[in-house]
Symmetry: C2
Subunit: 514 residues, 2 copies
């Protein structure tokens, strides 16, 4: 068989059955081979940033990698921002990139560029397949590296794909992907938590599922420690009686205030909190100077096992989630304030929903308003590269076809990867997109006001998204998705009820009160 | 003054007065400084791929660089594909990228990434500013490097921008940017052209303006040589009696046929022709095996001076362009075939128009149908990274506000950087976008048919852009641009007449006959 067929068969044999793609001529043999590998589902996107973001959303919800298939260096470039976010989420992605035939590369044809050099910035592993005979094996290696948590980039020259003599490989089932915990750090952390001094657990990554959260909450309660969650979790299970965790704030002043007076912070699959951006006269590190931190989870550790060890050491019992009585806000009426939007979503969020949250400033209250909603998952903008929300929602809907996906989307960021709507329509994905339409890059207005007193100059005009106003309902219809524009809280409630009662993609353009 | 002010004043003092941007928090001091530097015009885009493509279009038409201002590594990633095209066009661009403060970089905040590593793939020069005191000087260096022909990337850490103690610099006027020609290669080329053996001139790059074309045509005529133009010129002046040049074809079989039997090819700011992609059993190099090539233009050479030397050596007279009597096709009627579209544009293209051609398969006949139109410029997809056409049209319209820009745009490629329409509306740019809407990635259908006989499988469905059909008029309206959909040649003619008679952005969605 040719190399293309071996690559696809290796994917399927190793449990990779979904591929988000916008292919080109250099990938044409892989495309042709799809007809002979029915176990692999290709999903067409109109722009590579949708492919990589969708692969991220898929991985967060499925817990296993999808493949991408991108066209040479420019295709990688278009997908780079969402691969950056995926890297920060440590999402497993098998990132396949077509390349010119090996003998053609020396001629510097127009589409030639340094693919590996660009891919390294987002990948934990980068290889170029060098021969047809080995392409199956190197594909299996890419899948294994992705499953260890991150983007594995495999560059596939066209002649490696079109030549015969390939064999599929299969990632071994029984490979030990997990190592034991950091016992020494654990012992120090347990001692600190027992000390009676002001302490906290900061949980992130894989600690944010039901079992991890219940263990962490029990440890915190047993020791009288605070319980924080990282600012931008890849996937947080919440609602329905799961322990609530306080997210660290985005702005450094607020985060410093949350962490004030702490003497000990135990990091459970989370990084030491640092400021998202630097500011003159503010520190980058947000823990108090005298605070000790304990990083108890090493690479590839089983995070829940680490928490079990810590709970055992501290005598903290594992409790099941509490009673699932919803505490929802009332349905809002009147003007569409940030609070009204949050309350509307809090009042109506369906059980089992997946929220892809790129709501930014206008969505900031929604997280709090949904804390008492029925059980759901919350996916955030892990790497700060905007244009993630709608692609991640798309991939999450592919991974979980029986769950409602709510794509909370700030207007400015929505315009980065709006093409996701078309794939949602093409595949009939069950995604409700809620555009938080304040017609501004509001976060940047805030940042500008810290720096410059003028609110009417050229500078501030750069953060104004009108004129011309953007009509998101027209844009959605242009991509094959139905939608409605709402200007009151009552209309938003009605639109959400309608959207949550049907299946398939839908868009609500929420015009915020001025 | 602070570093931000020094950067902007250096740009203005060195003749850079236009900046395409989508900035973020790390660039906020540069944004704030805009209020104090009125000589610099910032243009907001909704996506960085529009900024970089617009800077490319601006450079091709203005002949000098604009600046971009991008937000960290992800902003660069989003702009990378069109920087790739700009690199292939050798367009001067001062590519400014914000970066975390120098003291913040060690903390690996969420938006941190290897900016320089990514930028190298598209830049002729990459530097990170290391101090406020030197940031003016390094900005001037970036401008000089850009003016030498290519993308100069300057990475600007936030603290370098916000700190005081900077001074603006200025690129010296009288720097010798050009070197003398390659005399030895010229002598050999002249000998070859005089030999009487089958010969050709292949012109590209800076040889494609009036004077260069007239010289090249005279040389070819004097020596009985053929005259070819590179496949994807950055900017070709044509029409209105300028000498016609035969473009080398995209598909290697066709290009090989054009170049058959040649013994000598003189390369005038053009590269040896190679296949765009590699194919099994086809050579990468397209010249006959026995053909000699002569590369007479070295880096930084004055191309027109080289042609003058060659013309002088060969006794070829410089002739002014011939009479400007238009030879236009008749106005088409009936179904919207590829030929009808080409004829409609050929019949109506306004004098002085700038055509940004990303028409791909559906636009392939338009170049020929406009050969006899009044004087205009033709800009093509230099690097093969789709999503260039509408951004380049945008930048060209900024550079030449008194000329009509025609953006010939294939539907699949249009969906990469559609956000360009919003900037066209915001700035009132005089751009008519003609969507060549065949609802397919038709070029890939063609490539697939070479590889696989099946036309109804999963593979071919990946090149079908419906369902759902994309409504470009709705998409344009959503971005603030008026438009119309046409389904007959008569309607296209009427729509073009209307569009060419008014100013400002407009879109025509041309539904090709099935």
């Amino acid at each position: 068989m040719n190399g293309a067929l071996a690559v696809l068969r290796t994917l399927v044999a190793s449990g990779v059955d979904t591929c988000f793609t916008n292919p080109g001529t250099s990938e044409i043999h892989l495309v042709a081979a799809l007809d002979d590998v029915p176990g692999l589902r290709p999903l067409l996107v109109l722009f590579e940033g949708v492919a990589t973001g969708a692969a991220d959303g898929y991985a967060r919800m499925a817990g296993r990698p999808a493949a991408t298939l991108l066209h040479l260096g420019p295709g990688l470039g278009n997908g780079l921002a969402n691969l950056h976010n995926a890297r920060r989420a440590r999402s497993p992605i098998v990132n396949l990139i077509g390349e010119h035939a090996t003998h053609h590369q020396v001629f510097d044809a127009p589409l030639s560029s340094d693919i590996a050099g660009v891919a390294r910035s987002v990948s934990r592993w980068v290889r170029e397949a060098v021969s047809t005979t080995s392409v199956g094996a190197v594909t299996a290696e890419a899948i294994r590296e992705a499953r260890r948590g991150g983007v594995a980039t495999l560059i596939l020259p066209a002649d490696v794909l079109w030549s015969d003599g390939a064999e599929p490989a299969r990632m071994a089932d029984d490979e030990p992907l997990r190592r034991p915990g950091r016992r020494y750090a654990l012992a120090l952390a347990a001692k600190a938590l027992r000390s009676g001094q002001p302490s906290a657990l900061l949980v992130g990554g894989a600690a944010l599922r039901e079992r991890g959260l219940c263990l962490a909450a029990s440890i915190a309660e047993t020791c009288g420690a605070k319980l924080f969650c990282e600012t931008f979790p890849a996937r947080l299970e919440r609602g329905g009686g799961l322990p609530e965790v306080e997210r660290l704030a985005y702005l450094p002043e607020a985060c410093t205030w949350q962490l004030r007076d702490l003497q000990h912070v135990v990091l459970v699959d989370a990084k030491t909190p640092v400021s998202f951006f630097a500011y003159p006269n503010l520190p980058s590190r947000l823990l108090p100077d005298t605070c000790q931190s304990y990083d108890v989870v090493g690479p590839y550790d089983d995070v829940e096992q680490v928490l079990e060890l810590l709970a055992h050491e501290l005598g903290a019992p594992l409790r099941a989630p509490g009673p699932a009585e919803p505490r929802r806000p009332g349905r809002p009426t009147g003007p569409l304030t940030t609070q009204a939007i949050a309350d509307a979503i809090g009042a109506l969020l369906p059980e089992g929903a997946i929220v892809s949250d790129e709501g930014n400033t206008a969505g900031v209250l929604t997280f709090g308003a949904t804390a008492g909603a029925p059980r759901h998952d919350w996916l955030t903008l892990t790497g700060g590269a905007i244009g993630q929300g709608m692609p991640v929602a798309t991939g999450a809907a592919v991974a979980c076809p029986d769950r409602k996906v709510v794509s909370l989307q700030a207007d400015g960021s929505a315009l980065y990867t709006l093409q996701a709507l078309w794939t949602q329509a093409r595949e009939g994905l069950d995604v409700v997109t809620v555009i938080l339409d304040n017609r501004a890059y509001a976060i940047l207005d805030l940042e500008l006001s810290r720096v410059s007193p003028r609110a009417d100059g050229i500078a501030s005009s750069l953060f104004d998204l009108s004129p011309p106003p953007i009509d998101f309902v027209a844009l959605a219809r242009g991509m094959g998705v139905d939608g409605v524009r709402v200007e009151t809280a009552d209309a938003l409630v009605a639109a959400l009820e309608e959207a949550f009662s049907r299946r398939g993609p839908y868009l609500i353009d929420v015009i915020l009160a001025a």
